[in-house]
Amino acid sequence: MTSSSISMPSLTRLAWSRTIVDLKQFFRIPEQVFFTFLLPVLFLVLFSAVFSGDVDGPPGRSVKFVQYFLPGIIALGVASSTFANLAMSISTEQHEGLLKRLAGTPLPKSAFFAGRLTSSVIITVIQTAVLLAIGVLLFGIDLPDGPGRWLFFIYLLGISAALGSALGIAATRMVPNARAAGPIIQAPFLVLQFISGIFFQWNQLPSWLQWIATAFPLRWMAQGFRYAFLPDWFGETEYGSSWGWEIPTVALAAWMVISVVLALVFFRWTREGDRR
């Protein structure tokens, strides 16, 4: 018989073991690797190969297209690797009864979420590194200029990954069955990508679309990463007075809080029918 003196596995060990399993599952599903991991890389290469011109800043000044495009794609990659990845994989696990299985074991829920968060941060970091490497080696982009910009870049990466993960966990509630996960998560996400200044220049969008996008974090992520990679003089034309590190920092911090609250309110460990 098990004696109560034998200690339970530590939270760190459990979280790490969950992280490894999450990573294995992620990288073993080809569709998932393609849509969330490779697609942003593909976008970077294709768009940058096709549009070789410049993007205009203030009158008479401009930056190379890829220098402008890459930060948006990094934002997109973070959102894919955290939000889309978790929303789809967790809702599938939920509907296939795998979460119910885990809930029947002594695994603490905190270890489950810690594993999910860690694995999606690891995926994000690998993806961002790949995007940066391609940007530098293939297209010769300029990296963030000085420690201040680097610090801001790392803050953006961390907070975006965290809030993306939390939002992905919350969004599982919108998915009614395992097969619906793809369309229900990807469709609104795709729309948001188009209106958040990733594929189209922000100041070329009609202002009502700008207003909609402003209510979501992806716009702030894209703008923030752009600030980290572009010269100070560039952005006032495009973003007006919100150009700089201050407003994106505050907007994303607020979204961080909102996301965690949404995750806590909406996430269900089991399907509705099983509720107590």
Binding site: T2, P9, R101, G104, P106
Partner: protein, 314 residues
């Protein structure tokens, strides 16, 4: 009797208008195999999942290993092994990866390789779960339910989809678990399984426990009524059947007697046949109703299978 591991008092559960359980009282003791039998929709899974902490109850008290299942902590959970009715596997992990992963959740798990062998998946150790057959996936489920070295194991229709050999293997595993003082709560539609494994059986129909007892005592009095049957051929054809205790019926060439005293009846028949110079009575047999006969009678007597609507019952 050892102390109860599970105590259930007055538990009812309704899903909207459907009463899935009605005032269930039940004790389950350490070291026993308890089998719940009942038609589809009788409330077996509902009851088991209340004990596992997955579902709440509408009323009543439940104690499982000293805790209310709704409030059990990780240490309490580590003493349970759960095999749910629906098979679910992690498609993209191998059998071994899955079992080792789950073993890591427990304070003193069994050896993963040993458990994989126990459920008969030794040669599928490295196979991705998505490539397994239905019965093999079920075996993964079983391995995950056992690997934590639980004190109390819940098996909801564990042998569904298993081949006969797999069923026997699982029976042996269950017996070896109870030999260590562990307790098993099992639901099944296979009456032979209940007969072979269970110390006690509970029959649940329409959300009510209608009988509890050892498999050979379920049905009470009705189980003592035996059927003596034979075929009065040749020299026996003309002879009148002697007076016998019980209820005699004829169907074609066969005569059968439902009686509470089969030994006396057989003695009378032997003397009667010997009188006619017949040493062997053709097709003589004595049978007691099986658990299956009794169970089917109980279900038929209750006139239905499904749990009923509250309105109809009130």
């Amino acid at each position: 009797m050892p102390s109860p591991v599970v105590t259930i008092r007055g538990v009812s559960k309704s899903y909207g208008a459907v009463m899935a359980l009605r005032h269930v009282d039940l004790d389950i003791y350490a070291g026993e195999v308890f089998a719940l039998l009942g038609p589809n929709g009788a409330g077996k899974t509902t009851l088991v999942e209340i004990l596992e902490g997955y579902r709440g109850r509408s009323s009543g008290e439940v104690d499982v290993l000293g805790a209310d299942p709704g409030r059990g902590d990780a240490r309490w959970r580590s003493r349970l092994g759960i095999v749910l009715q629906n098979t679910t596997v992690f498609d993209f992990l191998s059998v071994e990866e899955t079992v080792v992963h789950f073993a890591g959740f427990y304070p003193s798990p069994l050896d993963s390789g040993h458990v994989i062998d126990l459920v008969g998946l030794g040669d599928k150790r490295k196979a991705r779960c998505s490539t397994l057959s239905g019965g093999q996936k079920r075996r993964v489920d079983l391995a995950l339910g056992l690997v934590g070295n639980p004190d109390l194991v819940f098996l909801d229709e564990p042998t569904t989809g298993l081949d006969p050999e797999g069923r026997r293997q699982l029976w042996d595993v269950i017996r070896s678990f109870t030999a260590l003082g562990k307790t098993v709560i099992l639901t099944t539609h296979y009456l032979d399984e209940a007969e072979a494994l269970a110390n006690r059986v509970g029959i649940i129909i329409g959300g009510e426990i209608v009988d509890i007892g050892p498999p050979d005592e379920i049905g009470g009095e009705s189980r003592f009524i035996a059927t003596v049957s034979f075929r009065p051929d040749g020299a026996l054809t003309e002879r009148a059947i002697p007076p016998l205790d019980g209820e005699l019926t004829r169907s074609g060439p066969h005569v059968s007697l439902r009686t509470a005293t089969p030994t006396a009846a057989v003695a009378t028949l032997i003397a009667w046949a010997a009188d006619a110079g017949v040493a062997e009575i053709p097709a003589l047999s004595v049978s007691h109703p099986s658990l299956e006969d009794t169970y089917l009678m109980m279900v038929a007597a209750r006139g239905g299978t499904e749990s009923t609507e509250t309105g109809a019952a009130a």
